[in-house]
């Protein structure tokens, strides 16, 4: 500024500083610049420049403190991974179940209260043909009646709800029933498909929120419960499958929408990526069901991750795994004989597992319960369906403490299992929680599998052993209120409700059974206290066989595990369904 300082100073007697404020203008212009102070341009410039720079800097600093704007990919990332109950104010809610086999004819709905149940049979205006493309390995035969299904409709709301259940079979027309679901009660409807045996699914539409629908399957091989889906999706991932000499794998595709859908299946197996021609172009009619037997073209696969892609529209995909007792003399998986070159090993444990697929990948998965050792084989299977390598971290929580996490990478289209027994950081016989996080934000799909071979039932206060196979996808979002609509409890089954507190403060939770009437007594009054990062469980017996509702003081994860006792066998692992708070 030194070079111009003299120039900014008025010179000569005939000058008036301030330029426009001066002399000639004062005479000429109404208003003009008369009011301008008689300061030099230097001061004025300083003031103006300070103002401009000041505004620029101050707003820049304020803006800098805010979050940065995101960019758009044009791709939808809003897939809801887990089923969620509609809010109480909802006009309607829909649930989609499949993967079960048709129950015996003539079975009638049952309710937990004395509320009148109406059963009406209706037929669709359009006949529903088998939804499998020509040449596709359709499975229309009930696999030994191993997974007879029924839907359990629980109403956590305070008003009675009306529900319409359309039972869809592999063939024939849907069987439609309308019934009332009592407030804080439930209704069970057997999935009896028109035409008798074969596969069955159900579309449940309720005229209210706070309604949760589970599918419960049971058979000689065991029982399993699982929440139904609340939305379809063009893409589904079903990890953790296998086909063996005694293990069959079925994929059920339910189309609850008014137009038909064409679906392609692809697989990542232990033999690599596979796309059998016969699993392409599967026609799933509107309001129809199609089930395919993977074993017909993917036999003897120790690992199958199924990817379902609808060319148009959306479907709901379920996976049913049926493992029969191993043939006599067959080498068992894990034994030395199984490792021989021509060995055709069998899965050592019989059981049936019906699992809802995941409509998308996610960057975080949580399992409230975990247990390994003592004849319990547990593993976490991580599948990366994307095209970018995922870096993931598996964190194990033991009694509120954290073990050293497992960091590993999962390549595009690859599957990485983490076998708990092989990890020293996962102590045998100690319950734990698990959380899988993608550290580079590449979404993955993760499932926890459990195989019991005469293991002690891991439910406090219950003695005996259990054998069977269970599988559960992780949960992706915590919530303060959860509902397990179907507990599957009877004299041959016990259950365990496990609550995991991912937060940093202690959470109190209350478990109540929805019976439609007076609440049945639960151990400790249903009260649970969960330490930060810890878990708490509540044993459930047939004394409280109705739906279980968990209300926590803060967001938690809730899982329900079902174990067969008394030689019945079977393991059912299922996530609870979060209830919307509004």
């Amino acid at each position: 500024m030194t070079d111009d300082a003299p120039d900014d100073t008025p010179e000569g007697p005939d000058e008036v500083p301030g330029g426009p404020t001066a002399g000639l203008q004062e005479d000429r212009l109404p208003g003009g610049d008369k009011g301008a102070p008689k300061s030099s341009d230097g001061l004025r410039r300083l003031r103006v420049v300070s103002f401009v720079v000041g505004v620029l800097v101050v707003l820049g600093l304020v803006d800098h403190s805010a979050s940065r704007p995101a960019t758009h990919s044009g791709q939808s990332g809003g897939v809801q991974i887990s089923p969620t109950a509609a809010p109480a104010a909802a006009l309607s809610s829909s649930w989609f179940c499949a993967g079960a086999t048709s129950s015996a004819q003539g079975a009638a709905p049952t309710t937990t209260t004395a509320t009148t149940t109406t059963t009406t049979a209706a037929t669709s205006t359009a006949a529903k043909a088998s939804g499998v493309a020509p040449g596709a390995p359709a499975s229309s035969v009930n696999p030994a009646g191993d997974a007879s299904g029924q839907v359990v409709i629980a109403n956590a709301g305070s008003l009675e709800a009306k529900a319409t259940v359309s039972v869809v079979g592999s063939a024939g027309t849907p069987d439609i029933k309308t019934m009332d679901v009592p407030a804080r009660g439930s209704v069970s409807v057997p999935e009896v498909a028109a035409g008798g045996g074969g596969w069955a699914g159900a579309i449940v539409e309720a005229d209210a929120g706070q309604v949760v629908v589970y599918q419960s399957v049971s058979g000689p091989l065991g029982a399993s419960v699982s929440p139904c889906a609340t939305s379809g999706s063009p893409t589904w991932y079903l990890p953790g499958g296998q086909t063996r000499v005694n293990a069959d794998e079925y994929i059920s595709l339910l189309n609850p929408y008014p137009t038909s859908t064409i679906v392609d299946l692809s697989f990542v197996t232990n033999q690599g990526s596979e796309q059998p021609q016969n699993f392409q172009g599967i026609d799933v009619p509107a309001d129809g069901l199609a089930t395919v037997d993977l074993g017909s073209y993917l036999s003897r696969r120790s690992s199958i991750e199924t990817i379902v892609k609808a060319r148009t529209g959306s479907v709901v995909a379920w996976e049913t795994e049926v493992v029969t007792p191993p043939p006599s003399g067959a080498p068992l998986v894990g034994s030395a004989a199984a490792s021989k070159p021509l060995a055709d090993p069998a899965w050592p444990t019989a059981g049936v597992t019906v699992t809802l697929g995941s409509p998308g990948a996610a960057t975080s998965w949580s399992w409230p319960d975990g247990l390994a050792g003592n004849n319990l084989q547990e593993q976490y299977v991580v599948f990366n369906p994307g095209s970018v390598q995922a870096k993931v971290r598996l964190s194990i929580g033991i009694a509120g403490a954290a073990a050293e996490p497992f960091d590993f990478s999962v390549g595009p289209g690859q599957v990485v299992p983490v076998v708990s027994e092989q990890q020293a950081r996962i102590p045998a016989g100690v319950a734990h929680t698990a959380t899988l996080t993608s550290t580079n934000n590449v979404p993955v799909v993760a499932v926890r599998t459990l195989t019991a071979s005469g293991a002690a039932i891991p439910v406090s206060g219950v003695t005996g052993t259990v054998s069977g196979n269970g599988q559960i996808l992780g949960e992706t979002a915590s919530a303060g209120s959860w509902l397990v609509a179907a507990t599957g409890l009877d004299s041959h089954h016990v259950g365990e409700l496990v609550v995991y507190n991912p937060g940093a403060t202690t959470v109190t939770a209350r478990v109540t059974a929805l019976s439609g009437g007076p609440a049945p007594a639960l151990p400790n009054g249903g009260a649970l206290t969960i330490a930060p990062g810890g878990q708490a469980s509540l044993a459930a017996t047939s004394a409280a066989s109705g739906p279980l509702q968990v209300t926590a003081s803060s967001a938690v994860f809730v899982e329900y595990d079902l174990y067969g006792v008394g030689g019945t066998g079977g393991i059912g692992l299922s996530p609870a369904v979060p209830l919307s708070n509004h």
């Binding site: 003299p6 000058e15 330029g19 009011g35 301008a36 969620t84 809610s93």
Partner: protein, 1116 residues
Amino acid sequence: MPADPLTAEPVATPAVAAVVVIRDPGSWLDESLRALGNQDYPNLSLIIVDTTGDPETSLRIQAAAPDAYVLRLKADTGFSAAVNAAVGMVEGASHFVICHDDVAPTPEAVRLLVEEAFRSNAGIASPKYVEWDRSDRLMAVGATTDWAGMVRGLVEPGELDQAQHDRVREILVAPGGMTLVRSDLFKTLGGFGTGFDGEGRDLDLSWRAKLVGARLVVVPAATVRHAQEPHDALSRQDTDIQERLALRRRETEVARYRTVLTCYKWFNLVWTLPLGLLWALVEALVLVARGRRGEAWATLRAPVLSLRRPAELLRSRRAVQRSRRVGDRALRSLQAGTASQMTAFLRSRSEHLRIGVDHRAEGIATPKNESGRPLSAPGGRRALVALLAAGFVVLLFGSRNILGHGLPQIGQLPHVTSGWGSIWADWWSGWQTSGLGVAGPATPMLALIGVAATATFGAVGTLAQLLALLPFVVGPAGAYRGARWWGSKRGQLLAAVTYAIIPLAYNSLSKGDWEGLVAFAAAPWVLSRIVELSAAIPVPRGASAALASKVLVLGALIGATAAGAPSFFYVALIVGIGLIVGSLVAGDTATVLRFAAGTAASVAAGFVLTLPWSATVFSSPAALGGPSLSSADRLGWAAVLRFHTGPYGSGAWEWLILVAAALALVLGRGWRLAWASRLWAVALVSFGVAWAASRGALPNLPADVVLAPAAAALASAVALGAASFEIDLPGYRFGWRQGAAGAGAVCLALASVPFVAASGSGRWDMPSASPSSALSLLPRPSAGGYRVLWVGVPDALPLASRRLEPGFGYATTFGTVPSLTDEFPTGSPGASPVLAGDLIAAQDQLTTRLGHLLAPAGVRYIVVANHTGPTGSGSRPVALPEALLAGLETQTDLAPLDVGDSHYQVYENSAWSPVRSLLPPSAVGVAFSQAAGSSTTQTYQAQRPLQQTGLSGAKGVLGNGPGAATGTLPAGTAPAGSAAYVGYTFSKGWSLDLQGANVAPRRAFGWAMGFELPAQLSSTTTASLRYATPWGLRVLQAGELVVIALAVAAATISRRRNNQIGAAARVAPAEWFEPAQPPGRRTTSGGSLRRTPARRTPPAVEQDDSWGPDGSWADD
């Protein structure tokens, strides 16, 4: 036996008659007549036609040419008529020499012309014209035309005559002044065409002569001094120079059009006329930008005026075509190239100046700029004009794929598909069909578009392109015009260039944000007008005279802009607030009140002029601000400062514009510094409001609209910097400021790089196809029609949308293609929020039967856009309403539909029913029992019965278009208890006419209309659904027209009064623009004012030769 050359009779010299028409004799007349009398041609007769009726002229003729024949006409019927009259009296002449009264030929000129005419067998011979005062400077040596009939000289006016053009050559046009014409040819042609005057008559005569096979040559050896005093209406001295220029242009253009219409064969007219009209439009726009509105108007009127006296035109054409012996193709070799129009247009500037100089000598008011500032030298001006032309070429180049392939219907770009009559009807109707329909006035923009559509004779495709692309010309033109106050022509051009390279408009175009484009076009004009109202230095006092009319004009401008971009009402206030803040920062409190009053009054005037529409818009903040931004779309401060509101612009280039605009802050003194403060304050207020609104701290306002004043202010600041460079920089010692000035120029040059680079795509990143084209496979609407519900980021939707949630909007179209009215949001939303409530219900998992809820609105398809355009159209991805999509996936009555374009997720509603239908009795009870909800929640809760019932049995009736409809209700289709349902917002103005029986509407589903039908329609019944626009609204709409007409009239009258104040009062004193003296030598500080100017120091001519001899500035 051959004749003896010595004894034979000398060959008789052909008789030649020179005809001189005297209409407005100047001082040169005597010399001119004497020169003609001194010709060495032995057989020359001089015929003088005196049209003045002035005895003094007679005396001068008698003194200068005592032997001449004098023909005195009682009235001045024009040059052509005078010549034709004189020639008709001549017998026996082989040639005529037709002369103006301001030419002075050398003594041998006529002889040389005649000799060459015989030698070349030419029908017309033209001499070499040189300037009257400087005979070594050429004026014309023949001329030619281009394909459009634009006359182009073969030499540069003012070119030094070094005999470089001294060869006889064939020409196409013989410039007027002194023309030798073979008498038989002249009579064959019928003389000069009647109705022609000015330059046009020479073109007409020459062209017709060429068509009959005559040869036209230029004979440079024959030299004629020419004073170039126009021999037409331009010579009337009682007219203002601007009017005279406009008159001259009009006459020339009319003559050109008539000549083209007369002489071209029809198949050449097919392409020459449209191209010529297009060029005229461009030329008019540039003239407007340069403040030559009279000439612009004359240019636009000329095509129409040329069609006057059509019978005569047809006769002339028939005569020419009958007598033609040469085809048009033969003329091509003599015609100029296509670039001649640009050259001729640019040349018109120098002619403009020349005329001004001529009349300065006569004491006629010289045209001046409103600032008294001397502008740049001609050489520099040419370079800057070339720069401007280059920018225009880049603009055309960058828009080539838009101009060549049509305008896609994206965002709110006006999609004009209907005829002008339909547009007018839409404006006049009291029922707006957008959304679910609403009763209320239409935006005045429809009327303006209707005017444009009418003016373009219904060429709606071209009109749509013009509406989208004109802002790119109008905006920079406004910046150019607005910067005139700073007195630097260089600065004006830089302002235009700066405004053109700011990314704002290109982002608006790429997003289809027409509101942004309209604001971009208007902002510099509004800023300039408000500046003018302030009358602060250097705005001359005269410029602010007739204050009321100026406020009215500014109000009309604001109102017209707001009709297309409602938030512009706020923008005008932002400008005013910025100017006030800037004044306060600069320490100038005197102008604050003036800025405040001027702005407020103008906005109020704009509001009143656009009533009743403006009242409805102001009652709806959503209509003013549009859908809000999502958090992901919110603009950061850096993005705001760089105008990065869309895909155009990246990196750091745009920072350089701010740097260039800051030059005025560091260089300016006096009023330059004060205005730099004001302009920067306008920019900062604009930036701040845009930023705060984007962050949700203020009510939502479209960023592209709000930032327009910032762009205008920065462009003006750049111009101010240029002025400071010229005025203030000389007053500083050598130092960093000199470097800063250079850096500013470099910054501006570098900042234009993205502009040039972006032109490569040819469409400014705009998608090449319309979103609705992705739905082309969907079935056409049948009876009753259906609606498409569009959801997504507003930029990705093909019409104006309403707010669904932050960042996302929704809108409906009747069928798949939006109409023009869908582009303009109505003030009242009508029942449209019902749709939003239904969508939110699905998003919040409150329903799994959204289709049932949407059925009463006739929504058959829901389209969610994930890109700004279809696949393969160069579109860009946009944010998705993830929660809504998740909700849509749960709907059991919606089926995803593959339309073959992954950029759109389409759901088909299996529960839809036509917009107009016959309700089945089962649904009638549900429809009429549902009460209107006072809130969104109540509304959808009231729909619980509807969700259970559905409308799937409804049968479509009454046509398939929006609005009123007529159709038949077949017998038997309306059983007892049924009702005609109409999915429009309930309004008592609707009625259903059943063959004379009027049925009033009942509210259905809480918001729509149902018409109870008779028990049983006995036979096919004709039904008409009608809307009766309230008389009150009609009166208000008519009043709107009246008020606008009155405003225009008042402004015109006021402007005329203002003109009477005199040009001098509108010119700022030159002292304000005196460059500062170098340090050590100066006696005043740069830019400061003397209290009493001791003298008016004319700037040195060598510094700027635009100064006239009297020290006044000759504006272009």
